[in-house]
Symmetry: D2
Subunit: 335 residues, 4 copies
């Protein structure tokens, strides 16, 4: 082998290493859900949850929490079926988007390049499906939210819009959760291909994986994968917004009671993440979690925490309440 | 009828009216409970709950919360059977104690006068039983707590002892709850004879009273009477201490989890009082409630609030969780 | 002396004792304040504070917190001068109102009987002034609030109107505070004549009374009297609404910041009551306190707590911040 | 130029790019401070703050918060002078440590390689000083904390040790803050050389930089640089631990009051980060911040937020309190 061939091989190796760094995801950016009753779902997310509308266009309404810096973190789309339409992740650089495209081509993963301008407030994106069928889009550019309305614009530079305290008023979008038949398989794909770190998981007494929680950032998870107890395929389990304190969570529960929104489960505390939660079903049938607290993960060599059958129930609720049956079986569709 | 006879009759009427004002109770003062495992119960109430010991004497341990101004609000007595030994109420004046004695004699109610000095830190008292058999004592004098220990004495005049933040650290003793077969009958006796106001109640679909909550002071209730679903007589349901915020309640739940104390129910929110709660069983089997929030009652002509069958479940938990079966059937004894 | 004369003297004594019980006040009920800018003050109390309007009539707007059971606890009256117009106390029975009238006549206290119907939602009342000139009214009847609006009526029997979470959303009206030249003299009058118990007080290094806090109910104070540092007469210092937790207080502070309402002092914690606070100035110049926590007083023989010069500053703020100069000198008028 | 030379140049460029990725820091790991009164400082950090001791060795005590996963996040070293001894940052991989060494050599930055074993619980590290003289160490390996004591070991896999609720009980170590003469210069060095992102900054009316806040992770800042108002060189301003809620912050303030630890400033809320704070001085004179809340930063292309002179005071305290003079001038030494 000639020296120059050697050099070329070394260069290939370097490029490969570099690709590893460049095909990286920055963070979960938004979720788009189908809602059968757009009007009532908009009422729920604005009046009860206290999100604000960034834009309405056609059959879509774009929403964000008061401190979400981006144009939107939730999209409601009028639909015949409720469920998840798109899970959007921001990549770490403009090169990363092209690098992912190359990688998908190399690996023969079916995908679609969507030009900037076709999606509201969003630049180029790649759409594809995970092995279990989750609809995913990667993008680099999304508009920042800038309020033009004196009633909602804050004089505080760190507030993209005023904190109004209206409704639940979460601080920010947090994560999504999907039920799948085979948690292990799906988790490995997200970790190996997309680099979303595995944070903690629950095993049952037959050593079957009941759930895995993953994140790219320092928050405990941005996507969770839970076992569908019915084993009838992938379902959208929930989306979650984040509150600043247990006290605000109690306030959220009170608002649900006054607005006749059923709390499916909670207040409880997931032992796994250490976060306190309530789950509600919004008027179109999608599950929404409101949560607060829990730990951040800083270690670059984090080892996933196992919750074995002995402590698994505490992983679900540290305080000992049992999740209702529906929690393990009910979900809306992957659209 | 002579003028003087007339005058005497008027005097009798005045005396009667006066009696009404003088035979009055000021507030719930303490509860004495029997515990089969004194050591473990003391561990629970001091290390987990964070109460402090005022005195130990024979087989009794006297405890109080950091802002209880009195010498004690809880007495643990080593016992073969767990349950309630005494429910202590302070009367509104020294004359009131004698007035109650006269009244009991007039009405033929069995009672016992206990001289000052026979009970730790307490003046003269009258002991008797309610129709359902609840052991009650009325007293006028109880020592105030004064810390002699520099480690616990606070320099703050409004703090009878330092706020240490140890364990659950409730602010103060709140109330007791008893299960009885016939709630209506027992409630009427407490209201008519002892002047403890009826605050709110729950009726089931057969118009049977499931519970009544009563207080003499402005807090929502100092004593609750709940229907024993098994109809096997009166049982001690729980005693309760008060926290300053929902956040502290969540903290209490976390401390229970670390100390392997099972939470029987909660966190939840009683619609009736508006207070947030958890219930735990202490090591000797008595139920303890930790709660926070809810409303105060100022109206001198308060009308008891009815929770009918339609909203009754929200009266139990506004957020929709169901109490476990044990909540309606399990209690310890009346000793 | 004949027997019948003796009897008559005894009867007189009994009547006197009885009067003591019957001329009693139940609780602070409302405060009526003059506002120079009615529109902006209404905006502040509804949009920022989150109170709701029960009625508007002429130049008066009637307001209440979500769990105030009465028709109103605050009245805003369009006025050339800001300040306090009336401090309303509910008496303990219908007889009590007549008993107070008799007492005022006996003592030669100037007063005015106001017939039911002349004041919105209120029965007969007696109006008079305290020695320092505070405008006071006593009443027995005030309408309960009943919502006729499905948007605000709650299905929860314990909620006179929905908890909406809008703005600061205090639970209930709490107290008023007046600056006077001579605290001791005014306090004694309130305690001796009106039976409002003295709860705690602050003395300075020259043994001058800086403040006294009084209540008839179990809450720490319903009226406070503070020394006017300028000694230029009585001024209205503030009115206060109550929140359920420190967390809600922080939320209130955040809402003030977004709405450009200056926080004069706080968050701080009064050592005296143990309550956490912020003070703001509403658009017409009246001071408003928002507070939470602190202790309740149950003892019928409560001894007022002294905060001497050594601990006095902690009585003002347990955490050590200093009140601004304005806190000791600024107030609006007694109207 | 020959093809192979071209290839070699390209390879050099690739290597350079790769270096950029590999010389990266993961997160702030610990701070070591000198304390003149070791005994009293240990009392403060354990009894008041509620940190726990991982190890004591010679004149050093190693501490951590209950959910710090590492062996320690704070080291107290008995010293003649109080101040900061070392600011420890974990790098993102074992290669990164060597890559930083190469870079320091290339750039002629004075540094010291410290072999594993010389520092308790820590692997190899590089020690050096920033331009302003801050003592910094980079390391890859540090032992995880594993409790061997049944009294503190938690059965919960996500808890490296029990949550005891003792004292302030922060969840985790958060950040350090240093006063320097020239904020801009120091900030640029940290961002350019160490890759610590610039998050927000305050400019005064003369366009002088008053402070800059930087982080490598998603938390708002791990290191802050503030202008020394006295311009007498770099000083250690404070270290900070994180709490889960505003309510816990209020509880912390109460614990300071009972333990006679002066609160220098707060409770307040930094507009910049949105976090609520108190500052106290520990017994050896170092400043400690306890804080909660605020925003996370996910955007890979985050633009530093400017707080100009008009809103700068709100950046310091959103609620309007003024920092005491000492806050801008007092600090302990760089050791």
């Amino acid at each position: 082998m000639s020296i120059s061939t050697n050099k070329m091989n070394e260069e290939q190796a370097l490029l490969k290493q570099l690709e590893k760094y460049t095909t990286s995801i920055a963070h979960l950016g938004h979720v788009e859900i189908g809602v059968t009753n757009l009007e009532k779902s908009v009422w729920f997310f604005t009046e009860v949850m206290g999100l604000s509308v960034s834009a309405e266009e056609g059959d879509r309404v774009y929403l964000r929490a008061w401190q979400d810096f981006d144009h939107h973190t939730l999209v409601l789309k009028k639909s015949d079926t409720s469920g998840v339409q798109q899970i959007g992740w921001r990549v770490s650089s403009s090169e990363a988007l092209r690098a992912f495209e190359r990688q998908f081509k190399d690996m023969g993963i079916d995908h679609k390049w969507v030009e900037a301008g076709l999606k509201k407030a969003q630049g180029d994106s790649i759409q594809f499906r995970s092995p279990a069928g989750l609809p995913v889009e990667l993008y680099w550019e999304k508009e920042k939210f800038v309020s033009m309305d004196p009633a909602t614009a804050s004089k505080l530079p760190s507030h993209p819009s005023k904190y109004t305290g209206k409704g639940v008023s979460p601080r920010r979008f947090d994560h999504v959760n999907i039920m799948v038949n085979d948690v292990v398989k799906e988790q490995q794909w997200w970790t190996d291909l997309l680099g979303i770190h595995h944070r903690y998981y629950v095993q049952n007494e037959n050593d079957v994986r009941l759930g895995s929680w993953l994140s790219r950032t320092n928050i405990a998870h941005e996507i969770a994968l839970m076992r569908n107890a019915n084993q009838n395929g992938a379902l959208f389990h929930h989306l979650a917004y984040y509150l600043d304190s247990p006290d605000e969570l109690i306030r959220a529960a009170n608002l649900m009671a006054e607005n006749e929104i059923k709390i499916e489960w909670g207040p409880g505390k997931h032992g796994t993440s250490g976060a306190q939660f309530i789950y509600v079903i919004e008027p179109s049938g999608n599950r929404v979690e409101i949560w607060t607290g829990g730990f951040l993960i800083f270690a670059p060599d984090w080892e996933p925490i196992e919750w074995n059958p002995e402590v698994g129930p505490l992983g679900l609720d540290l305080w000992g309440s049992k999740a209702p049956e529906s929690y393990f079986t009910y979900g809306t569709k992957l659209l």
